[in-house]
Subunit: 333 residues, 2 copies
């Protein structure tokens, strides 16, 4: 790579901070700026905000539009929210500034069914400015969609795919442990579920991506989220889960096509997991079964997925893109 890719970091939460720490290690990347809305971060040196030993000589900016137009990044690494709602203006702002975008927004991984209007608006602006945007990560973005799809390329026919991800959230950061309900009661779990925003964001997107990419007509999709209860006391680095309270969740999606169940995604995320793993079983010709013992460690892999997508999106055709349209992903070293 002759010219270094000029990258701007949009959002300095835990994921954005980790992205910066990785970006500064990449020879092919020049970090040129960072924006965040948090007044406690704006005005400070990025190196200080993300916990580097050295300052970077780059000050966190609060005005994204202004910063984008002044700095003119090639690529923006966007890490602000899991949901389409709230990111549209941010994405459009980047695209209008002529920047390609890699985003951690889970719902953006395969956004077509959730909000076709959003997709059209983003796609139009991306085309107008000759740039592209993609959503990625480990899940959605790889473990339960891109990897199984990639494996399916070894099959002349596929009847059914079963994808499993078992995550020991006890080894992950605190927000994730809380996100899966570790430590709450069964009643609280039910309450949160009833509120409708509980559970892992993006499982639905993974399922839709696999169905849509393989061209399987989706007849019915059912999703269940159940608590996994702690049978004994579990202590993590951050919290204590009593026996009889919630350890985490078990989320499952089943998709049928032509009355047959063709796709199952099963995600178990709780503290106290014995034997975390990622698995894919393809009932096809030939049959294929893959297993990643220990599982793909999400805290780091999410950052890898985002950073490694930088050179891919920069060379992509203009528009709203998915990982399935970009070249085979690989490490950007």
């Amino acid at each position: 790579m002759s010219e270094r890719i000029r990258v701007l970091q949009f959002g300095l939460g835990p994921i954005g901070q980790a992205c910066v720490r990785t970006l500064v290690e990449k020879a092919g990347v020049e970090l040129i700026g960072a924006v965040d809305i948090d007044p406690a971060k704006v005005g400070k040196d990025v190196g200080d905000v993300v916990g580097l030993k050295n300052q970077l000589g780059i000050i966190v900016r609060g005005d994204a539009a202004q910063t984008l137009s002044v700095l003119k990044p090639h690529v923006v690494v966007h890490t602000t929210s899991s949901f389409l709602k709230g990111v549209e203006e941010q994405l459009l702002m980047c695209l209008r500034a002529g920047a390609f975008v890699v985003s951690s927004t889970e719902e953006l991984f395969y956004p077509y069914e959730r909000d076709s209007g959003f997709c059209e608006r983003v796609d139009v602006v991306a085309h107008e400015h000759g740039v592209a945007v993609v959503g990625t990560g480990v899940n959605p973005g790889f473990a339960m969609d891109v990897l199984p799809l990639c494996l399916s390329s070894m099959c002349v026919s596929v009847k059914k795919i079963r994808i499993t991800r078992v995550v020991d959230t006890g080894k992950r950061r605190l927000p994730l442990q809380k996100k899966v309900g570790a430590g709450i009661s069964r009643a609280e779990f039910r309450e949160r579920l009833a509120q409708g925003t509980f559970g892992h964001i993006g499982l639905r997107e993974s399922a839709l991506a696999v169905m849509g990419t393989l061209g399987w007509k989706l007849d019915e999709m059912t999703e269940t989220i159940k608590p996994v209860m702690a049978t004994k006391k579990i202590k993590t680095k951050f919290l204590m889960v009593k026996a009889g309270s919630v350890a985490g969740l078990h989320q499952k999606i089943r998709c049928t096509s032509g009355r047959k169940e063709v796709l199952t995604l099963e995600l178990k995320m709780h503290v106290g997991v014995k034997g975390a793993y990622d698995g894919v079983e393809i009932d096809g010709d030939p049959p294929l079964s893959i297993r990643i013992d220990g599982g793909i460690f999400g805290d780091t892999a999410t950052i890898a997925a985002l950073v490694n997508a930088i050179p891919k999106i920069k060379n992509a055709k203009p528009g709203l893109r998915t990982m399935m349209e970009l070249p085979v992903p690989y490490a950007f070293l």
Copy 2:
């Protein structure tokens, strides 16, 4: 897919025949012709030649250039040889007829180091005619290159990759059993090795593809091929291997970069394998270890790789392409 892809089969050996049997099952494909040099096949119905129950109303042609110019296929599935030598004219003929090409030629998977002149000539003609060509398969093409690369996308840094493929050739077709030397003596094994054409074709291409794609500077590559000896009598569907004779081969490539061993590819192909598998271990952040128990069944997966690449190559940028430049591969159902 609105329009069916018009496909011509170029070469009707065992792989080409299996491709035809798969192609006729694909709704998105229309098989429009087949060519072969074997006088015993020319003039016969393709259905008869490939062992289908029904004739296809398509006669095997001997004159490839003439057939290509008359039929004008969108894509040619090319399955004639493992080596660059001998396929150049065939590929150029296809490209000049305006056809995209997916080829099983192992050396074409990553041909740059082996013959840069070949690459330039093919690339120029492909550009002139606005079409593209790619070499693929299970190995090279997936198990020991595309899959490990794809996994590396989950890592922020990679120190070393170790790729292993253990194949029970006793369960594969006879030519493959013979190819790995099953049944011959240790002396014969040495003789064949000395002749220089023995061993699995494409391991070198997989190694070069991983090194080149990750941008690792190759300092030294060493390749060894050793016999695996039968410790007891082994009987396969096709042949008998006596105790003390060769059961197959163990081929290994090590690549160093900056004096460190960064890549190891290890291929064991013999009869009597207990526990065939494909495995990738990445020493990186995070570390990753993947295992496919039983291994990817090559006889079928090779066909899948070729057929599933048809829609990808048809949408590729003109030129000589590699699988790493095409979008994520997946089943074309």
